[in-house]
Amino acid sequence: MSKRIDVGDLNIYYGDFLAVEGVSMEIEARSVTAFIGPSGCGKSTFLRALNRMHEVIPGARVEGKVMLDGEDLYAYGVDPVNVRRQIGMVFQRPNPFPTMSVRDNVLAGIKLNSARMGKSEGDEIAERSLRGANLWNEVKDRLDKPGAGLSGGQQQRLCIARAIAVQPEVLLMDEPCSALDPISTLAIEDLIGELKQNYTIVIVTHNMQQAARVSDRTAFFNIAGTGKPGKLIEMDDTTKIFTKPGVKATEDYVSGRFG
């Protein structure tokens, strides 16, 4: 499991509007890469372009290359459904399926694709994924209860369990803790640290301490002004970005002088 991603000169458009311009970066396998930057600078847009989720919005398109272990995700004939099976995603707001139980939520990725699965196999996958998301002990007695009945932090870990149940190569996280309290945030940060043993993780965060705590490498995005495209300013080891960044704008941002 876990593959690397190489992005080459990626432009992302919404209709005629250029949202993100000229991003190139390498995302290492089995590591945590954090995207930081002010609101509206295109971090989330770029993240969603990595598993072709941005296409859900009408009019969105990209130019450039995104290579998953050498395979271009945007090559002709690539099915976005297959891309998303390899590159999972966790969203800002916990979004368990309200019609499903805890167990069914975890197995949703398999069941919705109507793969055949025996009861014991399902139990095994559910337990492994819930353990992987540090949620097993809290929900093992109520696997058949509705997933929407859990607390916010538990729901978010349920969503992580759901994402890793299909065993993706890469896990994208779009501000996974911004709707959570500090205790739940800590639980998820610990989880990210464990998950990077097996998965390539990319996380967007507004919380710079969080980026400093969990990530190995950090990318700083910025925007010149309203209506201008977002750009990748700098990408380096996290310690370097937060101690002596190469660009003045990065230093201003991480030291809290603007943003």
């Binding site: 598993n51 989720m53 859900v56 009408p58 459904v81 297959n82 891309v83 998303r84 099976r85 390899q86 999972g88 995603m89 966790v90 969203f91 707001r93 979004n95 368990p96 399926f97 309200p98 019609t99 949703a108 990725g109 069941k111 919705l112 694709n113 109507s114 109520r142 209860k145 509705p146 929407a148 009945g149 859990l150 969503c159 759901r162 994402a163 299909v166």
Partner: protein, 367 residues
């Protein structure tokens, strides 16, 4: 009458003179007495009494309140009275309809009425019932069966078409085609029901020969009325499914059609099902389109694809307009009222079912 006020603490800026909570009640009783007296002077009648009472109350209460409590409270009380009045006025027709349908319908309503048809019942029997007190014979079984079959068929036609249209509009529709569909669905909701009936009658005249009337033609006419209602209600329900759920399904690598089938529809199913039930309740009492498509009969016909078929509204219409016996119309009118009662009961049951469905399918959030 004394106006009691709770004594405020003079020093506080937060308290204020208030009417004691029994004062409005007392004023209402006084207004009632005054209204009764005034209407007695003019010539007593119940509507006059009620109107005078309410008008006096609506004038006096704000004045008293204005003197004691101030302008804002006075306006508040005045508008409160207006709102309650509007509510009661809105209830009047509903209650009076139910009252008259039950009052007139119960005399002929019985198990016998629901299980017999009008076959071989003639004006002679009605004359005997009216003049010699013979038991009322003949019922609405054939019309009940007709209504149930025609409505079920109409639902079987409209629900798939309506549901799929709304799925197209919400999940796929972009640009001109979607806008055109929305526009025409809106137009269709406004189609007079007789026009829908004539459309179905004309369609069947072209396809199967002039004068073709059967239950299926009636079902087609009702679907024309039902489809837009189903489209609009399920469209609303699908739209309120949060986009986050769609994204969550996409992010798991679920294809779009399966996402719609397994995530969007189950999440919205309670609203869709109750919307469909209400749409059925809406068309079950349609009269005009059935008269021109399904026709009338006094016999039981359970095959909607051939021969004329009776329905409850048509039954009511024919018995009320053309009683079996011209000299003794009362037994026929009794049957018409009983059939109307049956119809009202069906509509109430459907509304009840809609509520139960909505409750049963609603996503659960218990712990």
């Amino acid at each position: 009458m004394t106006v009691t006020t709770s004594t405020p603490h003079e020093s506080s800026t937060l308290t204020h003179d208030q009417l004691h909570r029994y004062v409005p009640v007392g004023l209402f009783v006084a207004a009632g007495a005054l209204g009764a007296a005034l209407s007695a002077v003019i010539g007593f009648s119940l509507p006059m009494f009620v109107v005078l009472t309410v008008v006096i109350f609506a004038i006096v209460l704000p004045i008293v309140s204005g003197v004691v409590e101030g302008r804002r409270k006075a306006i508040d009380r005045f508008v409160t009275v207006l709102v309650y009045m509007a509510f009661v006025i809105a209830l009047v027709p509903l209650v009076s309809v139910i009252w008259s349908v039950i009052g007139n319908g119960l005399s002929a309503f019985s198990a016998d009425f629901l299980t017999t048809s009008m076959r071989n019942v003639t004006g002679l029997e009605d004359q005997q019932t009216a003049q010699e007190g013979a038991p009322l014979i003949g019922g609405a079984y054939h019309a009940l069966m007709g209504t149930l079959l025609i409505t079920a068929l109409a639902a079987a036609i409209s629900v798939p078409i309506g549901l799929m249209t709304s799925i197209y509009l919400v999940e796929y529709g972009r640009g001109r085609l979607a806008r055109a569909i929305t526009f025409f669905v809106d137009v269709m909701t406004g189609i007079p029901s007789i026009v829908a009936g004539l459309f179905a009658a004309a369609l069947f005249a072209v396809l199967f020969g002039v004068g073709t009337r059967n239950g299926f033609a009636g079902a087609v006419a009702l679907s024309v009325l039902m489809i837009p209602v189903v489209v609009r209600s399920s469209e609303e329900m699908l739209r309120i499914v949060p986009n986050e759920l769609r994204e969550a399904a996409y992010a798991l690598g679920v294809p779009k059609w399966r996402m719609i089938l397994r995530v969007v529809i189950p999440t919205a199913i309670s609203g869709i099902a109750s919307g469909v039930t209400l749409a059925i309740a809406r068309v079950v009492g349609e009269t005009a389109p059935l008269i021109v498509t399904a026709g009338f009969t006094s016999s039981i016909n359970t095959n909607p694809f051939s021969d004329w078929m009776m329905s409850l509204p048509a039954y009511v219409y024919s018995l009320a307009m053309r009683p079996l016996s011209g000299s003794e119309p009362q037994p026929s009118l009794d049957r018409a009222w009983a059939a109307a009662l049956t119809l009202v009961i069906i509509v109430m049951l459907l509304n009840l079912i809609a509520r139960l469905i909505a409750k049963a399918f609603a996503p659960k959030t218990g712990r």
